[in-house]
């Protein structure tokens, strides 16, 4: 019996060891960097780790960052955004001019072909515009183009777009409108989400659901040939796992690295992110109705300390507005309220604050360290004399509270991402009376917002926004906090400058 038992024990241990000691005999059906990184001489493809899998590869349908990491390389737009200046530049259109207040005329680029050989024509351009704005199509990004009333073909290389009222932002809107192949979509409606056909420098060759997406260089591309021959996107939700993969040499680029990882990254680059965090004040009811109270709150918070301690310096202090240079409407004369707790206390006294409870509502987990940020802010406000009651809501409850003016708390943590880089959206959403997230109301300001929205003269428009920025700074709508930086982990032989619009542009990358 001893022998029987010993045999059993040895057997189970042997099996365990076999199971545990790796399978070099395994068939490498899914290639991964491990097999490739040892021979760097011929490496011309890269592996990118995204935070999640795209929901679809139909670029007109969803507002999905994981999708755009792929489709921004596969599709193109009539106008593109310059990665540094955030200004519209030529794309599939070589010229744009405003014919009258509501009509724009674009000249289209010649000699462009889709990946399947179909030529790019004015028909495709008009079709793309009509498709994304069609209510039956239910695009989640249709809101970006809600000023477009009509689009028509004028001739082979000219189209016109008609807007509903003057729309100075139209060029920027077009930088988010991907151009699709009319013939392909009409004859293959079921392949649109999984086998995309665009005009871009890369084409999608394979999508293994749940595993990876592969793109390859389009050798017939009309523009500059990119250096990198192909890329594979993997989906790794957990940021520490992306870090491990980078360190083990399995991937070449990892998005969204945490500030704490920077010292461990083989190489990294940063760029300013799109999100601006802030505390919104309820200016219509309750203790924060008082301007002095709101200004006191602005002086009470040390934003630089927040950036340094929570984000290890990988965040910029927002300069009194939810914008930075490059955003249309940015006022460079405004600076963030300085950290002055004594002044805050004095203002509180002047306002006659009697210590009543002030509610600060936040959520946790949607943005990096949002919970910690709100807690730190609550601490600083309390030190300055505010009686803060901090509450955390679930994401759903938080969304509900944000959009419901009746539920608006005295102070609410939020974040604003302005993807058109134009301040109109900010004012419409947060400042205008009745705006979806607005707890502010000033009829003079409302008039200025409407005027700026339809002002076609760029100089005049800019001045209107600068004036607006000053007003909502001195009569604070809220307390702008930080603009977080995006941190990209890279392998040492990848060369790439991240863009200010957070697009992952494989065609701008190079391997050393």
């Amino acid at each position: 019996m001893r022998k029987g038992l010993q045999f059993l024990l040895i057997l189970s241990l042997v099996v365990t060891l076999i199971a545990g000691c790796g399978g070099s005999s395994s068939q490498p059906t899914q290639q991964s960097g491990k097999e490739g990184t040892t021979s760097t001489a011929t490496k011309d493809t890269i592996i990118i780790a995204l935070q999640g899998e795209p929901s679809t590869l139909d670029p007109q349908f969803a507002d999905d960052g994981n999708m755009r990491a792929v489709t921004d390389n596969v599709f193109e737009r009539l106008l593109e955004l310059d990665g540094k200046t955030l200004e519209p530049i030529n794309g599939l259109a070589t010229d744009i001019k405003s014919i009258d207040d509501v009509t724009w005329q674009l000249t289209l680029r010649e000699g462009v072909k889709f990946h399947n050989g179909d030529p790019f024509t004015a028909e495709d351009a008009v079709f793309s515009i009509k498709r994304v704005t069609d209510p039956a199509y239910k695009s989640q990004i249709a809101g970006n183009f809600n000023t477009i009333k009509d689009a028509k073909v004028i001739d082979d290389k000219t189209i016109q777009i008609v807007t509903d009222g003057p729309d100075p932002i139209l060029p920027k809107r077009l930088t988010r409108l991907d151009i699709v192949d009319k013939k392909y979509i009409e004859s293959n409606p079921d392949k649109v989400a999984t086998e995309p056909i665009g005009t871009g420098p890369y084409k999608v060759t394979k999508w293994n659901r749940g595993v990876d997406i592969t793109i390859e260089r389009n050798e017939d591309y009309w523009g500059n040939k990119p250096q990198i021959k192909g890329a594979t996107y993997r989906f790794i939700q957990e940021s520490s796992t992306r870090l491990s993969a980078l360190k083990a040499g399995e991937i070449d680029l990892a998005v969204n690295m945490l500030p704490e990882y920077v010292s461990e990254l083989p190489a990294y680059k940063t760029s300013d992110g799109i999100e601006f965090t802030f505390i919104r004040f309820n200016t219509l009811r309750g203790p924060m109705k008082s301007k002095l109270m709101r200004q006191a709150a602005c002086y009470a918070v040390d934003k630089k300390a927040l950036a340094d301690s929570l984000y290890l310096g990988y965040a910029n202090v927002a300069q009194g507005q939810l914008a930075k240079p490059g955003y249309f409407g940015y006022n460079d004369e405004i600076k963030a309220y300085p950290y002055d707790p004594e002044k805050a206390k004095a203002l509180l006294k002047e306002a006659g604050y009697n210590g009543e409870v002030i509610e600060l509502v936040s959520e946790r987990g949607r943005w990096l360290k949002d919970g910690e940020l709100t807690e730190a802010v609550a601490g600083m406000l309390t030190d300055a004399g505010f009686n803060i009651k901090l509450t955390f809501l679930s994401w759903q409850e938080w969304l509900d509270t944000l959009f419901n003016l009746d539920k608006a708390p005295d102070m609410m943590f939020s974040s604003n991402g302005n993807e058109l880089f134009d301040m109109d959206r900010f004012y419409q959403a947060l400042i205008k009376t009745g705006g979806p997230q607005s707890a502010y109301s000033n009829p003079e300001v409302d008039k200025m917002i409407d005027a700026a929205r339809s002002e076609m003269d760029t100089e005049k428009r800019l001045q209107l926004y600068k004036d607006l920025a000053k007003i909502v700074y001195e009569d604070p709508f809220g307390l702008p906090l930080l603009n977080l930086k995006d941190i990209y982990g890279m392998s040492p032989n990848l060369e790439w400058e991240p863009r200010q619009d957070s697009r992952i542009t494989v065609f701008e990358m190079k391997l050393k």
């Binding site: 029987g4 199971a19 059906t29």
Partner: protein
């Protein structure tokens, strides 16, 4: 036996209906998928339009009956997130999780059962005490942390395995070990406990007195009698793992399975997909419970259905 199975299947249908209705009602009353799907800057008009398109502005009872009507045809609608049929998505993700869970259960069984038997055979020895503490520690280790530690050591430092991903045996090893730790702990404890109980029973003492070898007592009698408890524990773990308890491990290792699907679905409030998942989980758990219960008839001759 046949009658028993049919009655159990009827109960299964009741459970599936009950769970589906409960989840449907709660999510529709409490959730707000429209806010989750649209960007923060969307206007109230856009929200109302989407609500209407998704049929969320109809009365709850009407939505429920429409849903039940489709569910009996196994039509869960189109996922709001991925725009393809919901049940198809669930079925696509199951093989990966099934592979991982099966591997983990096999590993647990192969390690825990022999060791549990050995510990029960030699109670009070170092092996016994070591096994008890080790299994307890295993149960307390958060899988998330353990997975990350294994990755750091074996994948990053030693380079033996991949840090994440799916497709080959080498991808499977670390997630399997991480996932197996908890079932291993459960099994080791139940095996040891049941076996010890059996080995000290009256019939075992009698058998030894009659001259039966220790092996015969162990495998011929004790193990068989302990089998029902072991199978219950194993079946329970297997069912719960398949039903989504793999989520933490799958997220750490980027394993594209059912666990990550559930986490994503709930975050996105994709109701059709959620209902498909709930249905699937109910079916899996009920089936596994049924199989375990039927196995009692074969393991314990006293049980007759």
């Amino acid at each position: 036996m046949k009658r028993y199975i049919i009655v159990r299947l009827l109960y299964t249908i009741v459970v599936i209906l009950g769970v589906s209705i409960l989840v449907f009602v709660v999510t529709h009353m409490v959730g707000n998928p429209v806010n989750t799907m649209l960007p923060l800057q969307a206007t109230e008009a856009e929200r109302a339009a989407l609500r209407h398109q998704l049929g969320l502005d109809k009365p709850l009872f009407e939505q429920l009956t429409t849903f039940l009507g489709s569910m009996v045809k196994l039509d869960f609608g189109i996922s709001w997130w991925q725009q393809i049929p919901a049940l198809g998505i669930v079925i696509n993700k199951m093989p990966a999780t099934f592979m991982l869970v099966s591997a983990a259960m096999i590993l647990s069984i192969v390690v825990a059962i022999p060791l549990g038997i050995l510990a029960a055979y030699k109670p009070g020895t170092f092996l016994d005490r070591f096994l008890t503490s080790a299994s307890l520690i295993g149960l307390c280790l958060p899988p998330f942390w353990l997975g990350l530690m294994l990755v750091l050591f074996f994948a990053v430092r030693l380079g033996w395995f991949f840090t994440s991903g799916y497709g080959t045996l080498r991808h499977l090893i670390l997630p399997t070990i991480t996932l197996a730790v908890v079932p291993m702990g459960h099994l080791a404890q139940i095996v040891r406990f049941s076996m010890a109980e059996q080995l000290n029973a009256q019939y075992a003492i009698t058998a030894r007195a009659k001259g039966a070898s220790e092996t015969a007592v162990l495998f011929g009698h004790a193990l068989k009698n302990a089998a029902t408890s072991i199978v219950t524990m194993g079946g329970s773990d297997f069912g719960r793992l398949l039903a989504g308890e793999t989520a933490a491990v799958e997220v750490v290792f980027g394993w594209p399975g059912f666990g990550t699907l559930i986490v994503d679905t709930i975050g996105r409030q994709d109701f059709p997909l959620l209902q498909a998942e709930v249905f699937f989980v109910a079916v899996v758990i009920c089936l596994i419970n049924l199989i375990v219960d039927i196995s009692y008839a074969y393991l314990d001759p006293r049980i007759k259905y």
